[in-house]
C-alpha cells in the first residue's frame, strides 16, 4: 500500500517530515466503527449498543491526549519525589479513559465536577500543561494562582467546577449546578464524579433524591477503581453494584478502561438526563499508583494484580492496538509521538519551574469579593491593618 511505501521512506527522512505526515493523517475523518470490549450492564434502562462511531482523527486524538495525560502524571510523580510538589498529590494514571471518553461525548457547556483526582480531567477540559504544573508547584501562573494546589483545579470558561478535597461533598454541588442549568433552561448536563469510597456518603443519596424529584439533568459517575485509599471495595460496601445504588434512578455499568465504552455511555447518559432526569454511571476502572503519593499502593493489593491490569486492560495500549490494526500510524510514529509528548511535558515543567511564587499580598486577595475584611483597615479606616513580615 502507499502507506507502507511512505512509511519505509520516512525512516530515512528527517523527523519533521514524519511529523508532518502523521499530522496529515490525523485530519482524516472517515468514520470507523469500533466495538466496545464488554457489553453494558443496565439497571432500569435499556443499555446502548456496543458499536461506537468514531473516526481516525478521533482515534489518534485519543491516543495523543491519553499519552499526554499518562506522561503528565508520571512527571508529577517525579516532581513530588523531588519535593517540588508538596502536600497531597493524587494521580490518575490508569483511569485516563474515563476523562477522554467523557470529553469526547460532551461539549464545553456541559459541566464536570470531580473530587481530588482532577489533573487529567482539567487537562481534558482545556487546561494547559503550564497551568497544571505551575499550580502543582504553587506558582503564580497556576490555574488557581497557586492558592489551590493539586486538589483545587477549576476552569470556569470550560464549565469545570473542580477539584474538591472533601470526599463526597462535590456531588451535592454538582446537583446544584444541574439545578442551575435547568433553571436557566440551558440544554446542558452536569457530570458529578466520585469514587467507590465516596459512594457510601449519605449526601450522595440526599442529592440523588432531590435530583430525581426535581428532574435535574445530573449524571452521577462513580469511578470505581476498587479501592478507597487502602480499603478494598468489598470491605467498604455491602453492595458493590454502584450503578444499582440509585434504586429508583437508572444506572449503567461501563468498562472504564475502554475509552469508547465511556464515550458511548456518556452520550447515552446525556440524552437520558436531558429527557428523563438523573442517571448513574459506574466506570469500572483502575489506578496504578496508590491513593496518593504518600501511599505506595502495594500494601493492600499485590504487584501482580497491578501488572496484570496493566498488561490486559491498559487504556492506552488498547487504543494503540486499534490505531495499528486500522493502519492509521506505525509503531515508530506512535513512538515519535510519545517522544514529542515527553518533550512537551518536560518543557512545561521547565517553564513552570521558572515561574515566580505568588506575591505576599496574594495571601489576602480573593477571600471576599471586594477584598474587604482581610486587606482590611484598622479602626480608623486609614491604615491597612494586616501586614506581612
Amino acid at each position: 500500500m502507499a502507506l507502507s511505501r511512505l512509511t519505509s521512506r520516512s525512516n530515512i527522512i528527517t523527523r519533521p517530515f514524519s511529523a508532518a505526515f502523521s499530522r496529515l493523517l490525523s485530519t482524516d475523518t472517515t468514520p470507523i466503527t469500533i466495538e466496545t470490549s464488554l457489553p453494558f450492564t443496565a439497571h432500569l434502562c435499556d443499555p446502548p449498543s456496543r458499536s461506537v462511531e468514531s473516526s481516525s482523527q478521533e482515534l489518534l486524538d485519543f491516543f495523543r491526549t491519553m499519552a499526554l495525560m499518562r506522561r503528565m502524571e508520571i512527571a508529577a510523580d517525579s516532581l513530588y519525589k523531588a519535593k517540588l510538589i508538596r502536600g497531597f498529590c493524587h494521580l490518575y494514571d490508569g483511569q485516563e479513559a474515563v476523562a477522554i471518553g467523557m470529553e469526547a461525548a460532551i461539549t464545553k457547556k456541559d459541566a464536570i465536577i470531580t473530587a481530588y483526582r482532577d489533573h487529567c480531567i482539567f487537562l481534558g477540559r482545556g487546561g494547559s500543561l503550564h497551568e497544571i504544573f505551575s499550580e502543582l508547584m504553587g506558582r503564580q501562573a497556576g490555574c488557581s494562582k497557586g492558592k489551590g494546589g493539586s486538589m483545587h483545579f477549576y476552569k470556569k470558561e470550560s464549565s469545570f467546577y473542580g477539584g474538591h478535597g472533601i470526599v463526597g461533598a462535590q456531588v451535592p454541588l454538582g446537583c446544584g449546578i444541574a439545578f442551575a442549568q435547568k433553571y436557566n433552561k440551558e440544554e446542558a448536563v452536569t457530570f458529578a464524579l466520585y469514587g467507590d469510597g465516596a459512594a457510601n456518603q449519605g449526601q450522595l443519596f440526599e442529592a440523588l433524591n432531590i435530583s430525581a424529584l426535581w428532574d435535574l439533568p445530573a449524571i452521577l459517575v462513580c469511578e470505581n477503581n476498587h479501592y478507597g485509599m487502602g480499603t478494598a471495595e468489598w470491605r467498604a460496601s455491602k453492595s458493590p453494584s454502584y450503578y444499582k445504588r440509585g434504586d429508583y434512578v437508572p444506572g449503567l455499568k461501563v468498562d472504564g478502561m475502554d475509552a469508547f465504552a465511556v464515550k458511548q455511555a456518556c452520550k447515552f447518559a446525556k440524552q437520558h438526563a436531558l429527557e428523563k432526569g438523573p442517571i448513574i454511571l459506574e466506570m469500572d476502572t483502575y489506578r496504578y499508583h496508590g491513593h496518593s503519593m504518600s501511599d505506595p499502593g502495594s500494601t493492600y493489593r499485590t504487584r501482580d494484580e497491578i501488572s496484570g491490569v496493566r498488561q490486559e486492560r491498559d487504556p492506552i495500549e488498547r487504543i494503540k492496538k486499534l490505531v495499528l490494526s486500522h493502519d492509521l500510524a506505525t509503531e515508530k510514529e506512535l513512538k515519535d509521538m510519545e517522544k514529542e509528548i515527553r518533550k512537551e511535558v518536560d518543557d512545561a515543567i521547565a517553564k513552570a519551574k521558572d515561574c515566580p511564587m505568588p506575591e505576599p499580598s496574594e495571601l489576602f486577595t480573593n477571600v471576599y469579593v471586594k477584598g474587604f475584611g482581610t486587606e482590611s483597615f484598622g479602626p480608623d479606616r486609614k491604615e491597612v491593618k494586616a501586614s506581612l513580615p
Binding site: G149, V171, N209
Partner: protein
C-alpha cells in the same frame, strides 16, 4: 435602582456626606430612630472635616445635658414620612420578595418554604407568586441542599438557603465551611458564591437544648463568609436585601423570639450596610455592645440605668463578621468603658472575639477591663426558670454597668 436616603429636616446636609461610601452599590441609610432624635434635640455636628462619617458613627457635639429618655423616640412622629407598619417576619418577606422581583436569579430553598409558607411565615405567598422552581421545597437533607445551593451559586444563581432552625445547619457545616467560604479563594477568584444562608436561632421559649442553639460562634472563624444579625423590622429588611445583593456568602441570623416585633418602615427601597453597626442610643458613660435579642434586654436595662443617673451608649453591632471596629472604636474613645451583652456562649463566642479585638486595638482608651456578659456554657434546659437564667437578664446588665462605672 434608586435607594432613597431617608432624611429629616436639618439633618439633610450631614446626610449628603453619607453618600460617599466605598461601595457604589450600597446606599447607607442611618438608623431612623437615631435621626429623629438628632433633628429634634441636638446640634448635629457638621463633622470634623478630617474624619469621614460612616452611617451611624455620627459625631455629636453634646450639650451638657444628658438624654433624659432611655430610648429614642418611637417611629410615630410627624417628621417621618409615611411608611407602613409591619412585623419583623413580614419585613423579611418583603425584602425577599422585592429582591426576587428585581433579579430573576434569586431563588429560595429550604424545608417547607414553598407550599407551607415557611415555618415562621417568612416565605409566605412566595411560592404562589414565583412558582415551584424559584421557591423550592426541599426534602430534609441540609447537607445536600446547602451544597446544591452553593453549586448553583457557582454558576451565577443567587439562592437564599433557609435552615428551618439554625441548629439544623450544623449538618451542613462542611458545605458552609469548605465550599461556601473557601471556593472563591481556592479557585483563585474564578467563582463567587453569592448565597444567603438564613434562619432563626437563639434561645426561644422552652424549645429544648437542640432547638436553642447560637451558631454565630461556630461559624465565625470560617474565612470568606460574612455574618450579620438582624434585630428590628427595619434592619431585617435592609440586611436581607443587602445580603442578597452581596457577591459574598452571607449568613443572616434571625431570632425566634423577634419575629413578631412591630415597627414602621419606609415605603421606598432601602438597604442596610452589611458591615456596619447601628447606634441605638448615644451616651457618655459606657458603651454597651449587643446584637439580636439582647438589644431589647439592654434597652430595658437602660431604662433602669437612666433612672439611676447613668448614660449608657448602646450599639447594636449587627455585623458579626467582620466587626465594625470604626463605630465601636469611636464609641470606646468617647466613653472608655465597654460592656458586651450577647446571647452566645461565653466560651469562644462573638463576645470573646470582640473582647480580644477591642483590647488589641483600643487598649489605651480603656479605663476599665472589657466586661462580657454571655449565656452560660450549658445546653439550654427545658424548665422555664432555668432557661431564663441561661441568658443574660436586664438585672445582670444593670449590675454590670454599675460595677464598671465605679
Amino acid at each position: 435602582m434608586s435607594s432613597i436616603i431617608h432624611g429629616a429636616g436639618a439633618a439633610t446636609t450631614t446626610l449628603s456626606t453619607f453618600n460617599s461610601v466605598d461601595s457604589k452599590k450600597l446606599f447607607v441609610v442611618p438608623s431612623r430612630t437615631n435621626l429623629s432624635v438628632r433633628s429634634q434635640r441636638y446640634i448635629v455636628a457638621g463633622s470634623d472635616a478630617s474624619k469621614k462619617n460612616f452611617g451611624s458613627g455620627l459625631r455629636v457635639r453634646h450639650s451638657q445635658k444628658l438624654i433624659p429618655n432611655a430610648v429614642a423616640t418611637k417611629e410615630a412622629d410627624t417628621s417621618a414620612s409615611t411608611g407602613h407598619e409591619l412585623l419583623l417576619f413580614e419585613a423579611l418577606q418583603e425584602g425577599l420578595e422585592e429582591e426576587m422581583d428585581r433579579d430573576p436569579h434569586v431563588c429560595v430553598m429550604g424545608e417547607d418554604v414553598g407550599h407551607y409558607g415557611g415555618s415562621y411565615k417568612v416565605t409566605k405567598g412566595l411560592a404562589d407568586k414565583f412558582g415551584d422552581l424559584r421557591v423550592l421545597d426541599t426534602p430534609i437533607c441540609e447537607n445536600a441542599f446547602t451544597g446544591m445551593g452553593i453549586g448553583a451559586a457557582m454558576t451565577g444563581l443567587r439562592p437564599v438557603i433557609e435552615g428551618m432552625n439554625m441548629g439544623f445547619l450544623l449538618l451542613a457545616f462542611n458545605q458552609i465551611s469548605n465550599n461556601c467560604g473557601m471556593l472563591h479563594y481556592t479557585s483563585g477568584g474564578q467563582f463567587t458564591i453569592p448565597v444567603v444562608i438564613r434562619g432563626p436561632g437563639g434561645v426561644g421559649r422552652q424549645l429544648g437544648a437542640e432547638h436553642s442553639q447560637r451558631l454565630e460562634s461556630y461559624f465565625q472563624s470560617i474565612p470568606g463568609i460574612q455574618m450579620v444579625a438582624c434585630s428590628t423590622p427595619y434592619n431585617a429588611k435592609g440586611l436581607m436585601k443587602a445580603a442578597i445583593r452581596s457577591e459574598n456568602p452571607v449568613i443572616l441570623f434571625e431570632h425566634v423570639l423577634l419575629y413578631n416585633l412591630k415597627e414602621k418602615i419606609p415605603d421606598e427601597d432601602y438597604i442596610c450596610n452589611l458591615e456596619e453597626a447601628e447606634m441605638v442610643r448615644p451616651g457618655e458613660h459606657i458603651t454597651i455592645l449587643t446584637y439580636s435579642r439582647m438589644r431589647y434586654h439592654v434597652m430595658q436595662a437602660a431604662k433602669t440605668l437612666v433612672n439611676k443617673g447613668y448614660d449608657p451608649e448602646v450599639i447594636d453591632i449587627r455585623s458579626l463578621k467582620p466587626f465594625d471596629l470604626h463605630t465601636i472604636g469611636n464609641s470606646v474613645k468617647k466613653t472608655h468603658r465597654v460592656l458586651i451583652v450577647e446571647e452566645c456562649m461565653r466560651t469562644g463566642g462573638i463576645g470573646a472575639s470582640l473582647t480580644a479585638a477591642i483590647n488589641e486595638n483600643f487598649h489605651d482608651y480603656l479605663d476599665a477591663p472589657v466586661m462580657c456578659l454571655s449565656s452560660q456554657d450549658v445546653p439550654t434546659p427545658y424548665a422555664g426558670t432555668l432557661e431564663e437564667w441561661t441568658v443574660v437578664q436586664p438585672a445582670q446588665i444593670v449590675t454590670a454597668v454599675e460595677q464598671l462605672c465605679q
